[in-house]
Symmetry: C2
Subunit: 406 residues, 2 copies
Amino acid sequence: MPLVVQKYGGTSVADADRIRHVARRIVDTYKEGENVVAVVSAMGDGTDELLALARDVSQQDHPRELDMLLTAGERITMSLLAMAIQDLGVPAMSLTGSQAGILTTGRHGHAEIVEIKAMRVREGLDEGKVVIVAGYQGVDPDTKNVTTLGRGGSDATAVALASALGAGRCEIYTDVDGVFTADPRVVEDAVKIDGITFEEMLELASAGAGVLMPRSVEFGRRFNIPIHVRSSFHDGEGTWVKEDVMEEAVVRGIAHNISEAKVTVFAVPDTPGIAASLFEPLATAGINVDMIVQNISHDGTTDISFTVPTEASHLAKAEAEAVAADVGAGGVSVDERVGKVTVVGIGMKTESGVAAQMFRVLSDAGINIQMISTSPIRISCVVDQHQVESAVRALHVGLGLEGSSS
Amino acid sequence: MPLVVQKYGGTSVADADRIRHVARRIVDTYKEGENVVAVVSAMGDGTDELLALARDVSQQDHPRELDMLLTAGERITMSLLAMAIQDLGVPAMSLTGSQAGILTTGRHGHAEIVEIKAMRVREGLDEGKVVIVAGYQGVDPDTKNVTTLGRGGSDATAVALASALGAGRCEIYTDVDGVFTADPRVVEDAVKIDGITFEEMLELASAGAGVLMPRSVEFGRRFNIPIHVRSSFHDGEGTWVKEDVMEEAVVRGIAHNISEAKVTVFAVPDTPGIAASLFEPLATAGINVDMIVQNISHDGTTDISFTVPTEASHLAKAEAEAVAADVGAGGVSVDERVGKVTVVGIGMKTESGVAAQMFRVLSDAGINIQMISTSPIRISCVVDQHQVESAVRALHVGLGLEGSSS
């Protein structure tokens, strides 16, 4: 019997009615002759409520115990969903991450899936049951401690399970209709994308498209599991993320992000090893550096700019200042009022001129570009934070994304 | 280092403030040089809220999934309590019932503890940690399914753990000061009992004293673990439940219960095996029969009366009527308007006359006795439900329980 892994996010299971609705959807699939594994998140704001409880009790960090607490959220959803499915006459069984064999590293709050030993999932499927698995959680096999996977963890659970079980596809149910050519809250005419490659989705997700997290796309790419991102509220097709897409769009979509800060180290002596001496301490401090731009030097010195998440900008500045003093650089500045606009399309590999077109559109809209960084299928520009949304809107029109689904 | 197992009920951990308060109490004990294992219930009405969620989703029975759901409650308390203890500078670790090695039968909702494999608890203690264990829950080692122990389950967890770990005592923290000579809501002058034997406590608990469940007292008796029932709101001594108590009270306390119904089968032919043919079908139907009274027969027939929980009275009547028809008995009547008053005291073993004294007090108070049943240390009378409270008050005065702690 073919197998599908379905993942339902918090909004899709926010209350009893929605849980029953999800149960019906699962039972429909089951009755069409497919085995179903359903991965669930905590109900609605469940995780936030548990976090608030924790903050109420303690202002300090308790990574192991916080994971123990948060995993109660999916436990509640999964058992309720199993009940609702059984009520429709289909056998069902819920399993925690640990019971489902989701083995992870021991890094609480940010654990990585290392291996899936899905014996109990397979047993349940062999008995004709719908198996419901708690997303976002696993167990460290060395310490037997319960872990959580961090943001986007339930998607990662679903795609990794699909791979471990040899499922034909992974369906990610969410509160939007799919992946759009731009954020529909910013661009009214944004169009749902029917198909997108893993590579493109990875770039869009990394650049701020919130609908999928990069890690789950990366899992899909690595194990070649087609991912169908679709609405849990209706039956319409969503967006297929897969290896190859028929139409090679030059520009597939636009993503933006306003939660980064730009750090610049001025007048750095342009000697070998200078970049390493700057970015090694940042990595050691756990700061996630995104774009890095270094231009050619003048008079033996150069400027190095990079972006970091806004919440890490103070720490990044301190680290950069220490290095600047060490190597005799001119100084460090931080600008938190920046944003990033990214254009992605697999066709850029062969089609030249997209970058020029993008810069022209931004220029015509009166938007100044502060930093540029590219990959073979992506162009990102850092601009003033207040101009990010108008940049996205101008590019959506100017690059021809309006009106036609790609 | 000596070891104490402390159990904190739902009221004691109902919110963040109370959890911090419990943490301070545990840390005080720890700093006095004792190892502490803390067993916790769900916060406040946590379990009821989860039950309401389940009812919202489904009106049917889902024993396995309901247990999965309910065990989220203690999980939340235990992780928050671990955080609060760590905040006070003492290492702490929470463990689910399964992680703590609480192995049970597979009967969901009413599982019995079969064995405790407390390796991880011992490891935690050896590392100098306070170990917090989820009460009320365990795991069926055959199916690996999570189970719950039913009413009073957290007390049972605590006493069983104390036994498995060789603790010197088990402290049950609750929202009352201890065990009283009668229910203080009924008898204003009820007095806290300083010491009571397991045997007496077992009789009081079985007769309706709600502060401890019979199963945890039975664990304490079997493994001789002194149980200290005390308030979580202040430091005063509560009630010690143990093997021997210095003073042998003739009457230690009074319990009452108004949730039983009386079933009478009239004019039963007085032949051998008649009781078996009546009570076997009741047992098979899962009906918990409490008192059974059969008097001598007249003209070859006798009346058999018994009490059952009120919610089972209809089923009991139907079963009894089937048997009555089979054996040619006169008929069956059910009276739900009854209550039971029970007087308990280890001294009754040697002191005669307590029964006569009890009947005199009830008679003087104008209360008619419908059924009587005794054990070596207990006398129970079934009376009209509306007279139960006045019977308790009259006996509290008449048997000299007022004013002096026993």
